[in-house]
Amino acid sequence: MKNFTKFIVLLLITFSFKAISEEVNLYSARKEHLIKPLTDNFTEKTGIKVNIITAKAPQLHQRIIREGKNSQADVLLTTDAGNLWKASSENLFQEINSNFLLSRIPKKYRDINNEWFGLSLRARIIVYSLERVSLDELKGYKHLSDPIFRNRILIRSSSNIYNQSLIAHMISKYGVENTELWALGLVKNFSREPAGGDRDQIKGVAAGEGDIAIVNSYYIAKMLNSDNKYLFDNLGIYFPSDETMGVHLNISGAGILKHSPNSNNGIKFIEFLASDEAQLIYANTNYEYPVVNKIKIPVILQGFGNYIEDNILTSEYGRLGSEAIKLADRVGWK
């Protein structure tokens, strides 16, 4: 019984700390140390306290579904358009009325029904060995299955959402059958079984384990700006595109949850994330491309040059996400 009393007391204590000050509850798939500069800044400016729960995107997704109408979550901040699409297709979001957001964020990076807004961009690019790869070997993503790349490609596991979105993009562009053939060829070109994250693929190229790595742009940017940058001197960067498909871009973004108790504060928070100040933080701390035009990007990203992005709607990544995972399983992309 002592146990039970403790339980009740705990309940009462936790429950009794009801919000007295203004606050907003944030469910974030982005890690705490990445968003802390943003939330701290926001609280300083507006006085609104930000309560954060971080977890992997799919786990947050499940939690929100289970919590249902009593959920206390206001804002869902997540990486990958696929995750945003999933949330909106399951009616977790509410429509956001904000002229500020509509004016700042280009149409292709936000939901048609204004249920979510993209806040930063990243490209899935090729990092290659300058010694072992010549630039004219590199074309679009679909050429990565060519036999000339046999045993030369490094990429992370298909269980990672970034790859799933890439596959989904390919499916949307070329159809399931062609993409499956492509993936089969790609898997044959792996120089080793997928292991580690994007950074490990880059290190693999530098170490000679492979010639080409397929990674997100901010990883290589960070590494080239780190203390160890001399290790990556011999690497080149290429934004894959060809006549049929441009560069695969993905977004991180946010939306307001349907049963949000503090939706006004939530909207204020998302608007803050689209402000110049926040966009600069995204760019300079995490080396992502800002979603708002005219924001100055850091030197290292300028060095990457311009690229041609594909014209796909990022919501496609979500729609074809499951299909992509199953395809990866079928072709043996671990």
Binding site: E32, N70, A195, I325
Partner: protein
Amino acid sequence: MIRSLRDGWVLLAIIFSLIVIIPIFIIISFIFTPQNDTWDHLTSTVLHGYIINSIKIAIYVLFTTVIIGTVTAWVVSVYNFPFRKYFEWLLILPLAIPSYALCYVYAEILGFDGYINTLLLNTLGFNTNLLNFYSIKGAIFVFTFSLYPYVYILARQAFKDQSASYLEIAQISGYNLFSIFYKTSIPLARPAIIGGATLVIMETLADYGVADYLGIDTFTKGIYRTWFNLGDISSAGKLSFFLLLTVFIIIFIEKFFRRGAKYNKNIRNDKPFIRKNLNSFYSFLMVLICLFPIILGFAIPFITLISWSHIGFNYWDLNAFIKIILSSFSLAFLAAFICIIFAIIIVYGLRINYKTVSPFARIASMGYSIPGAVAAIGILIPVIWLDNLIDFVSIKFFDYSTGLLISGTWAALLFAYVVRFLALSIQSVENSFLRISNSLDYAAKVLGSSGKDIIQNIHLKLNISGICFGILIVFVDVLKELPATMILRPYDLSTLAIRAHDLAMDERLHDASLPLITIIIVCLLPLFIVNKVILSDKRVN
């Protein structure tokens, strides 16, 4: 006999077991949902890969941990050699290091820009990735050195308990110590060794972090993928069911081997075994045998983390850090305390009426093999259902919405920890209970003690070491726990493990080193205390 009181205890034990069993049943119930496309897809593509990988790892790890754990336990119990006293507790230390931390450290050391490679670069002039840690071998290595202490502790306890008489008789009969080890001590210690090995297998099967980091497709990884990425809860539930089935079979086999034999030690004639002295060669050998797991399982990771920590200091704010330590600490202690209460009641119920209580206790123990995130979802469902029910009632009668009361508070999280870690408490309390002769119980009853008295005055006192071990082991595991905590935690509750994991995944291992070191140090303190208690646990007549 006092029938009603006995029955009362049994009922209590069953109720407590049921509380823990509910989420397990929810997960199992998914097996009855109809098969769908995803399930067909799974069975035709990845399922056999998951099974093979998981079994491979589990078997190898079982083999290595039993060897390392049993041999070191024996060596330390029976021989005299320099530093033996220190090795006795040093061998436990790897328990304080989470397996994912071991993973990060070795992947980093052996990786591209790690110490080994840089050394090679400087001396031999070229760079290479010779040792591929990102493989099944890497996983086996990590689990071996982070889990062998489970076997070590239980085996050491068993060897200590073995009456010196057995050993001396065997010696007089002419057997040398090695064959005594083989023919007498191991069989006598079998329940303890099997108990430790079972914990090791369950922990290996339930792991996600290591398999994820090293890129290995294990069964648990498959469950996560199906549940969270494919969004198919029912197929993930089916996979979980098979995982539980495997564990159930393992537990059943374990109990089968223990059945009938009452290993109650005869308390009366214990005298301490006089350790055998060794010549310098063998002494040196013993020292090496002990050093090997300590260095690989503790020294190298700990020292590496310390060497990284000076960079981490810039990142951490003192107030925030203290806050995290306090929350991690209190969460872990509360969970451990609740678990041990449950365990004592259940084990006592087992003692009174093994046949009735046993199935409940066994099922309740299966929680240990459920991957953390799966357990979390399994709990979320009934807890939110309960919350919504309370809310519904409250709206109906009082026109007031209570919102989410339990989920999203410490209560849900603690519930998850109990489901996950009850097996540990039960295992350790049960083990030390085996050492108490039943005749003591009967004698006490005849003299008029009630069941409650027996627990309080006799069992608790005699079982202090088992109870302490049970509290310690749950405390340590909760402190290190990751996936369930991430899913169920309330706002603004962050734990050391979560912060360390996030930073490490972002390759900010230097920043992650501080919370990791804190986890390790915080885990070390209780380890020392309990070790002293176990060592000084004298048999009482």
